[in-house]
Structures are given as C-alpha cells and as structure tokens.
C-alpha cells in the first residue's frame, strides 16, 4: 500500500499523468459530441477543458503542474499553424477566382468583429487585458492566441472566447444569414469550427 502511495506521488509530479488526462478528457468530450449528433453546445474542446478543470480542482492540482504534462500537446499548435498553409494552398484556385470579393468581405468582417466586440466590452467597462483577449476572437484559435499574446491579452482567455464564438456562430449563424436573405455558398458557414467541415478536413473533431 505504501508503494502504491509512493508511486502515485511520483506519477502526479511526472508529465505522463497530465498528458494522459488531456487525451482522455478530449476523447470523452469528443465521444459526447458525436453522441449528441455534433451539437455545437457539446463542443469537444470546451467539454475537455471543463472536465480537466474539474479534475484539477478536485485533486488540488495547480495549472503549472498540469501544464508540465500538457505542454507536449500545446507545443504542436505551432507546427499545426504552419501546416494550415497546405489546405490554404489547395483551396487557392477556388479562392483566387473571387479573390477580390473574398478579401474585401473578410476585411470588412474582421473589422466588424474587432470593433463590435471591443466596443461592446469597452462600453460595459472591461479592463484592457480583457479587450486585448477579445479582439482576435473571430480568428482561428492558434492564430488568435498568438495575436492575443502579442497585444497584451491572455491567450487562454482568448482560446475560450474563440471556442464560444464558434459555438454561437454555429448555433445562430445560419439563422442570422437566413434572416438577412443570404444564400451565396461563399458567405455561408465560414465561422469558427464550421468552416473546415466543408473544406480541407473530411471529418474534423471541431474548430
């Protein structure tokens, strides 16, 4: 019994435990997501985060200890961001035909996203680091987190905001577009985790 306790103490300080926890939590959240028919509310990233936070709070583990293990997963964000060049390249001919329309729309859309989000939060009296975390929330998560870090925001807060934006976008986006009478496929689900589903990945988990 002493041996078991000692092993546990050793394991809870080693990266293996929290690396495994991260993967299991994600797998469980992903299972739930599939079981609910890919309901945006059951977003697997959000589910995994909630599950892990619950375990860490229950076992009185601090984030730094958790990150010792989780950093191996986190590290891959950089290479994955670079790898986005591959689908971008493959979609290039599709994009190029309407390059002007798409770039102008994206520019207007991005400015709208930044202006409305920071505007509303600023009027309601949010501190600067919240505004800086909020500004990049309509970009894909790895890029948004990198931007938040650059402009003095909190990358982890941004990550959650991007996910929630994706959930809102998936839930209300189609309705909003229908109400505005927009049916052009180029303008349809391009928000948050809906976009890749039709594009470069056959069966993405989300985001």
């Amino acid at each position: 019994m002493d041996n078991l306790a000692e092993t546990w103490v050793y394991l809870s300080a080693s990266p293996l435990l929290h690396l495994t926890l991260t993967l299991i939590a994600f797998q469980a959240a992903n299972w739930l997501f599939e079981r609910t028919g890919r309901n945006p509310l059951a977003n697997p990233v959000l589910g995994a985060v909630l599950l892990i936070v619950a375990v860490l709070l229950a076992t009185d583990t601090d984030y730094a200890t958790y990150f010792e293990g989780a950093q191996f997963v986190h590290f891959l964000l950089g290479p994955a961001t670079v790898a986005l060049a591959v689908p971008l390249c493959r979609q290039w001919c599709l994009v190029r035909r309407s390059a002007l329309a798409i770039s102008v729309s994206l520019l207007t859309g991005s400015l709208t996203a930044i202006a409305t989000a920071t505007g509303v939060a600023w009027i309601m009296g949010s501190p600067p680091e919240v505004l800086a975390s909020l500004a990049p929330k309509s970009v894909t998560a790895p890029v948004a987190m990198a931007i938040a870090e650059q402009i003095g925001g909190l990358p982890s807060l941004t990550a959650v905001l991007v996910i929630v934006t994706g959930i809102f976008g998936a839930m209300f986006g189609p309705v909003a577009l229908d109400l505005a009478g927009i049916t052009d496929w180029r303008a349809r689900p391009c928000h948050g985790h809906r976009q890749p589903r039709h594009r470069h990945r056959p069966r993405p988990a989300s985001q």
Partner: protein, 115 residues
Amino acid sequence: MIGHLILILTCQLAGELITGALALPVPGPILGMLLLFVLLMLRGAMPDGLDQTAGGLLRSMSLLFVPAGTGVMLHFKLLGDALLPLGAALIVSTLATIVVTGLMTRWLGRAQGDG
C-alpha cells in the same frame, strides 16, 4: 514523413527567427505558415505526402487548444467579473460579423457579376 515534418518545423523556426530579429508584431508560426504557402506556390505542385503530414496535424487540431484553454482556470476571477460584458460582446459581435460578411460577399458578388 520526417522530411515533411522538417519542412514544417523549419518554416516555423524561420518564422520565429525573422519575427524575433526584426521585432515584427506578427506571431512566428503565422509567418511560418506564409513562408510555407509561398514555397508551395513557387513549387507549383503539392509534394507527395505533405498532405498526409499536414492533415495529421490538422485533424487533431482542436485537441491542441485544450491545454491553453484549461489555462482559463487561472482567470476565473477576471472571467467572473467580466462575464456580462464578455457575453454581450460575443453575441453582438458574432451576429454582426456573420451578417456584415455575408452581405458584403453578396453585394460584391453581384457587382462582379454585373460588371
């Protein structure tokens, strides 16, 4: 497979080096993505197998946000204080962004179609 990983990591490394050396306000991996994009465009064709390596990274991309997302536990107090403004900002801005982008695309598509 390893060759493609080297390509991806080298692009990231170059991105980090350039943004660091020139103190550019752009994150290293994003510059790395642009570098790889330019390289692929110059080459004109997708190297065999790069698809799979990139696809492997991208398929599990949502998992990669989990460690950073969990970091939100460090900001519970901030999140609690700013819950109302954050919620309002997200809802207003998400809807506004989708509608504005959609309208703009449609308007430009028409302008292009007419001209």
